[in-house]
């Protein structure tokens, strides 16, 4: 699971209203090289929930976006790495409200709910 995906995932357990962002508990992480495309990163940033990304990343990302980030290549490369290159292979995602854990195995988060949770 890449952190870009994590940024979109939310808990949808019945009754939960604050199911985002999911807490990441990783037991195995891998870094995979992905071709850097500055336009991709700079256009993606406005679509993200920035605070959730900051929380999820282990790197120190600024809490607020700096002005002119679109042209700051070093910054974009950092964000690129966090969004696309870091992958959680094993672990789980935890719903911040209900505590329900969604397992991650082989990089695949299993978000299926049991009948009583749906």
């Amino acid at each position: 699971m890449k952190l870009l995906t994590h940024n979109m995932l939310t808990s949808h357990v019945k009754g939960v209203t604050k199911g985002y962002p999911l807490l990441i508990k990783a037991t195995e992480v891998k870094v995979n090289e992905v071709e850097f495309n500055p336009q991709f990163v700079s256009r993606m940033i406005p679509k993200l929930e920035w605070s959730a990304l900051v929380q999820a990343a282990e790197e120190d990302l600024p809490g607020e976006l700096v002005a002119d980030y679109e042209t700051n290549e070093e910054f974009l490369k950092k964000v690129h790495r966090i969004l696309l290159e870091v992958e959680v292979l094993e672990g789980c995602l935890q719903c911040p409200e209900s505590g329900r854990e969604f397992p991650i195995s082989r990089g695949i988060p299993n978000m299926l709910l049991n009948e009583d949770e749906a």
Partner: protein
């Protein structure tokens, strides 16, 4: 429009009398650049998409044939390698000759006799030169295994060991290329060995003729045409006929009055290029490519396939339109595992070639009627919806389609969002869509053929309406139905 169609391959009959061989030795190399016409078979319905791609990558205008699923374009031999970059094309061939209004003789005997005579008069030279150059191109690339040789082991560790690839979905493939045939490099070697055995100085070429015929007014069958034409070709070139281990595949395509003679440039169809781990309904890559082009992915678009199966569509996207990001999802264990296996397989192939292996794609296991995705966070939804024939059922679709469409509308960005949905259950789909005018608008439909079934690819635009506030939503969520009464 009903027309008789049949196809067959012929290896040539016994030559009547030995006639002198032509001087078209395949050994001659001309350093000159020549222009030839290339024919390409593409998924029916996506001819225009293919023409677009050809314009983009080769820079020429393609002509769409009346015979559906075929496009033609000119190319110079120095640019030949470009044809192998095309992703919307199933098979490629070089045209020897084209007749747009071929006047067939009245009787079968006369028609077949004429076809035989045709063989020796056709302008073979340029086409054969291209075939030869193409062979060299392929050797340089190294033989690319198509999906037919799907015995490759998964390259990632973990679950799902060796998936037996049960390739059940087969399209009515026009050129019935033999299954599991390894490639032209092998065939070349075989024919060289043969020539040593026979003691001839020159290399003995092996060939076969494949004939596709469609039309009600023909007095002959494709079998007969292949046989007689093949026999004449054999006599003319003194090649050896071989149904399975051939070097050259001569194509004889007859569609009403249109006759095209060509030489194949691809021995396996390119349509399964990405997939090594098949599922029961894996979509061919050329169809995936066509669907992706329809939605015109932009840089940083977030593209979801909520019923990804083996991941064919998002994977093709991650490779060909790699400036977007793909999330492949399915509720089924086997499906998500196969998707990951397919992704790993491609990544390993890229790593082996020395390029950066990572792809902009991720896989999640989810229930598509309750997607664990933030509202309005997705730009494009692209998927192959269950047809209800090979997977699911018609009755299930009745309930599934509306809930699906609603959930997809929820996650899709209002105003700019799009959906490209493939389905064979057109009735169910149309009904479901008609009740969602507030959320989805039909923009365009492409009619295609998938495994013999007629299906539709629907391009939808997400309206600007906020989810949960359109009239249908209000009624749907309250479980009310509108009742019209005539007074």
């Amino acid at each position: 429009m009903s027309s008789q169609e049949d196809e067959s391959a012929g290896g040539g009959s016994e030559p009547a009398e030995p006639s002198s061989s032509p001087s078209t030795e395949i050994g001659t190399t001309s350093g000159d650049i020549i222009t030839v016409t290339i024919g390409a078979t593409v998924p029916t319905g996506f001819e225009h998409t293919a023409a677009e791609e050809i314009k983009e990558k080769i820079g020429v205008d393609a002509r769409i044939s009346k015979d559906r699923g075929r496009v033609f374009f000119p190319i110079t031999t120095d640019k030949l390698f470009q044809v192998h970059l095309l992703r919307s094309v199933d098979n490629l061939f070089v045209v020897v000759e084209e007749y747009h209004h071929y006047q067939f003789k009245e009787s079968k005997e006369e028609t077949l006799m004429e076809l035989q005579q045709l063989a020796s008069t056709l302008p073979w030279t340029n086409a054969l030169e291209v075939w030869k150059q193409n062979g060299t191109l392929k050797k340089k690339k190294g033989h690319r295994r198509g999906g037919n040789t799907a015995k490759s082991k998964p390259n990632c560790e973990g679950v799902g060991g060796s998936m037996a690839s049960t390739e059940q979905q087969e399209l009515p493939q026009e050129n019935s290329a033999p299954e599991g045939w390894a490639g032209d490099t092998q065939a070349m070697e075989t024919s060289t060995q043969d020539s040593d055995e026979t003691g001839h100085g020159s290399k003995l070429i092996k060939f076969r003729v494949t004939c596709n015929r469609a039309g009600d007014k023909h007095s002959f069958s494709s079998n007969e045409a292949a046989r007689d034409f093949g026999g004449a070709v054999q006599e003319f070139f003194q090649w050896k006929a071989d149904m399975t281990k051939f070097d050259i595949e001569v194509l004889l395509n007859i569609h009403n009055e249109e006759v095209v003679i060509g030489i194949a440039l691809t021995e396996e169809s390119l349509h399964r290029r990405n997939i090594s781990h098949f599922g029961p309904t894996t979509l061919r890559s050329t169809l995936c490519y066509g669907m992706l082009r329809l939605c015109k992915p932009q840089a940083s678009d977030i593209i979801l396939d909520p019923m990804c199966g083996t991941g064919a569509i998002p994977l093709e996207g991650a490779i060909e339109f790699n400036h977007s990001f793909y999330v492949a999802g399915d509720n089924n264990d086997m499906a998500v595992n196969r998707t990951v296996n397919n992704i790993c397989h491609i990544q390993k192939r890229r790593a082996d070639k020395g390029s950066m292996s990572g792809l902009p794609i991720d896989t999640v296991q989810w229930d598509l009627c309750s997607l664990p995705i933030r509202t309005s966070s997705v730009d494009i939804i692209i998927t192959d919806m269950p047809f209800g024939k090979r997977m699911g059922s018609r009755k299930k679709n009745w309930d599934l389609y509306p809930s699906c469409l609603r959930e997809m509308a929820r996650v899709c960005r209002p105003g700019s969002g799009k959906a490209v949905l493939l389905t064979q259950d057109k009735k169910c789909f149309s009904k479901a869509i008609s009740r969602m005018g507030g959320l989805w608008r039909k923009q365009h439909t492409v009619w295609v053929n998938v495994g013999g079934l007629h299906a539709g690819v629907y391009l939808l635009k997400r309206t600007g309406a906020v989810f949960g506030q359109t009239p249908e939503d209000v009624y749907e969520s309250r479980g009310l139905t509108l009742v019209f009464s005539l007074v």
